[in-house]
């Protein structure tokens, strides 16, 4: 879906930081459990939820470490409660172990990663976009995952709500990835009415216990889940398992279940893909960017157009799976593609893969400074002169 420029419904006007908007979005989506560990620049998500959740009958818990908070989130979700954690780079690294479990055992959950500089402790108070590949490939083994990349405070609110809907619908962890700048800047947004926010819940097992197979694909590849207490008494494991949920090493059974797992997002790409394409129809130069870099790029595209360069902007909102079809369409008439990002070329790699390399250039920065619109516009003009 190509995102509309404005939400359809409006109500109260609020001034919020990105992290606070994330917390409000989570509660609005029905999240009733948060486990986390303090880390800059994401801690405001936890702080806000420590107040909000008990007010709505939910639970906030600050765990002993990042591993434990990811584990507790999955534990709560296995109990049937929508659950969230929020972290930043070093914590995101630690969460990968249990995130892989959630992907493999198909436990819905939402992980917010506010990107700061890396590697290691990096620059805790500076923005970065260097966890794109980690969000896709961070845990061991092959697994599907969804990552969303909002670019404004309003969009953080909106995409956090969407993250819960996607997690529940497809029984998958969903990562909400945004950089320190939009996490901590404050913007005005109009919060939608609670009644306008869809409460999406995973499909629960129904019917007689003896007919229930916890990992049977059903008609859409997404097995209904058994809620503890409902009488199904199933086994959940991080080992490869058969449709019964019990461990197996039988190659044909593993092929079948892993095959279903790996295909389950692919077959739903129409609903999962999200992007914004601006002035792409006649674009000879396409800029591809997310988050704060996309905002600079939007301004850069305007500057370039004012100087006679027909520039366009393609902004993935769903980052993983990457909206490749939409990118190909947006880049159809482009002679060159520029990817400005706060890392050493992570999204450029993906854009090159989709567009087959030749016309793609990166504008990379990892020193904690955002890329300015003028820099992007200057590079765009330079590229068009060649």
């Amino acid at each position: 879906m190509n995102a509309p420029d404005r939400p359809a419904t409006r109500t109260s006007l609020r001034l919020l930081s990105g992290n606070h908007a994330c917390a409000l979005g989570a509660v609005a989506a029905g999240c009733r459990f948060f486990a986390g560990y303090p880390i800059t620049p994401s801690s405001e998500v936890a702080e806000r939820l420590s107040r909000l959740l008990p007010e709505v009958g939910g639970v906030f818990v600050q765990m002993e470490d990042e591993l434990a908070s990811m584990a507790a989130v999955i534990g709560a979700s296995m109990g049937g409660v929508k659950a969230l954690t929020a972290t930043s780079g070093p914590g995101f690294s630690l969460k990968q172990e249990n995130l892989g479990y959630a992907a493999g055992a198909e436990i819905p959950c939402v992980i917010v990663n506010v990107m700061r500089g890396g590697p290691s402790t990096g620059m805790p108070t500076r923005p970065s976009q260097a966890d794109l590949m980690q969000a896709r490939w961070g845990s061991h083994g092959d697994y599907p995952i969804i990552a969303l990349a909002p670019a404004s405070v309003r969009e953080i609110h909106e995409q956090t709500i969407r993250a819960f809907a996607l997690a529940e619908t497809y029984r998958t962890p969903v990562v909400v990835l945004y950089d320190q700048v939009i996490a901590q800047l404050s913007e005005t947004l109009e919060l939608p009415r609670a009644s306008d926010i869809p409460q999406v819940e995973r499909r629960w097992a129904s019917g007689p216990r003896e007919h229930y197979r916890p990992y049977a694909p059903g008609d859409d590849g997404i097995p209904p889940m058994a809620r503890p207490g409902s009488g199904y008494r199933v086994h959940t494991t991080g080992l490869h398992h058969s449709e019964s949920g019990f461990p197996t090493q039988d190659p044909a059974t593993v092929d079948r279940n892993l095959g279903r797992l790996l295909a389950k997002l692919e077959r739903n790409r129409e609903a999962i893909d999200a992007w914004q394409a601006l002035w792409c129809e006649d674009a000879e130069l396409l800029v591809v960017a997310i988050g704060i870099s996309a905002r600079a790029s939007l301004q850069a595209v305007r500057l370039a157009r004012a100087r006679g360069v027909r520039a366009g902007l393609f902004r993935p909102i769903t980052l993983w799976p990457f909206p490749e079809q939409a990118l190909r369409a947006a880049a159809a008439g482009a002679k060159a593609v520029l990817v400005p990002e706060l890392n050493d070329g992570q999204m450029r790699l993906e854009v090159e893969r989709v567009l087959r390399a030749a016309r793609v250039q990166g504008l990379h920065r990892s020193n904690g400074e955002p890329i300015a619109p003028a820099e992007i516009a200057a590079r765009a003009e330079e590229m068009m002169k060649r």
Partner: protein, 291 residues
């Protein structure tokens, strides 16, 4: 129906296990089956509702036990079972949450989760099956391997001191701490019952034996000999100060070792939240009062 024999006869373990998972994968002589039997026996005597029973286990030989229990079972990541269980128990206070961990699972990779679970005092019954070794990975030294024992990673004999898990749990604030051996299944069952009945976090160390991987390497004899050694090397704490059974060094006390009545965390959190909601509702209604 009062003798141990009658009670044991009255308990049908088959009604609590998933028979389709048999034969189990434990080695001949392994003590873990006795520990599982004691747990299920305790649950049966407490008439636990298996639909509302959640068994969370980590990775290793002990971790595989959850799959055999006819309940809501979760076989999670190595060392993290208590963290998963914390989320589950906080989100679903209606469930009875039991964790089954091994010694490496609980004290090495999961040590941080154990001490904080003890401190937090959430209602979880935590069984740590201590067989002194990483059995599933082939017999490496663990945090509870006794001094001088040979393992695949201590070819000169273990020079590291072993953890006293119960002392650790008590020091970290666990509401209930106990230890028992698989030799005494009825006594272990009673200890587990007491732990399950405790309102807060209950830590129970079960001294199990690993005949195949650990005993063989250290020439500890057959499974029966290893279990009999448990009997001679351990003393119920009730007897530890009596004259005829002096408590010798290297003997671990068994039975209930410590208890406290610190508030259970989940109930305390929910009470504070409810009070806050009531306060907010009162303020809202006062503000809306036309008088």
């Amino acid at each position: 129906m009062n003798s141990i024999v009658d009670k044991a006869a009255a308990f049908d373990v088959r009604s609590w296990i998933r028979l389709e998972m048999m034969p189990h994968f434990l080695c001949p002589g392994c003590g873990h089956g006795m520990a599982l039997r004691a747990l299920l026996w305790a649950l049966a005597e407490l008439e636990a509702d298996r639909d509302r029973l959640a068994v969370v286990s980590g990775i290793g030989c002990a971790g595989r036990l959850s799959a055999y229990v006819d309940a809501n079972t979760f076989h999670v990541t190595h060392g993290r079972a208590l963290a998963y269980a914390t989320g589950l128990a906080l989100a679903r206070p209606d469930l009875t949450v039991v964790t089954i961990l091994g010694d490496g699972d609980c004290l090495a990779i999961g040590g941080n989760h154990l001490i904080h679970a003890c401190r937090r005092n959430l209602k979880i019954t935590c069984l740590m099956l201590n067989n002194e070794v990483y059995g599933m990975t082939g017999g490496q030294v663990s945090p509870t391997t006794s001094a001088e024992m040979y393992t695949t990673t201590t070819p000169q004999g273990n020079a590291e001191p072993a953890f006293d898990a119960c002392a650790l749990a008590a020091a970290a604030g666990a509401g209930f701490v106990g230890r028992e051996v698989t030799h005494h299944v009825p006594r272990l069952k009673e200890l587990v019952k007491a732990g399950l009945s405790h309102p807060g976090f209950a830590f129970i160390e079960v001294l199990s034996d690993c005949t195949e991987i650990f005993g063989r390497k250290n020439e500890l004899g057959s499974s029966a000999e290893m279990v009999m050694r448990q009997k001679s090397e351990l003393r119920p704490s009730a007897y530890r100060d009596t004259v005829d059974t002096p408590f010798r060094p290297n003997q671990l006390p068994t039975g209930i070792l410590s208890r406290n009545d610190r508030p259970e965390y989940g109930a305390a959190y929910r009470a504070a939240a409810a009070a806050r909601r009531a306060g907010a509702a009162a303020m809202a209604s006062a503000a809306g009062d036309p008088k």
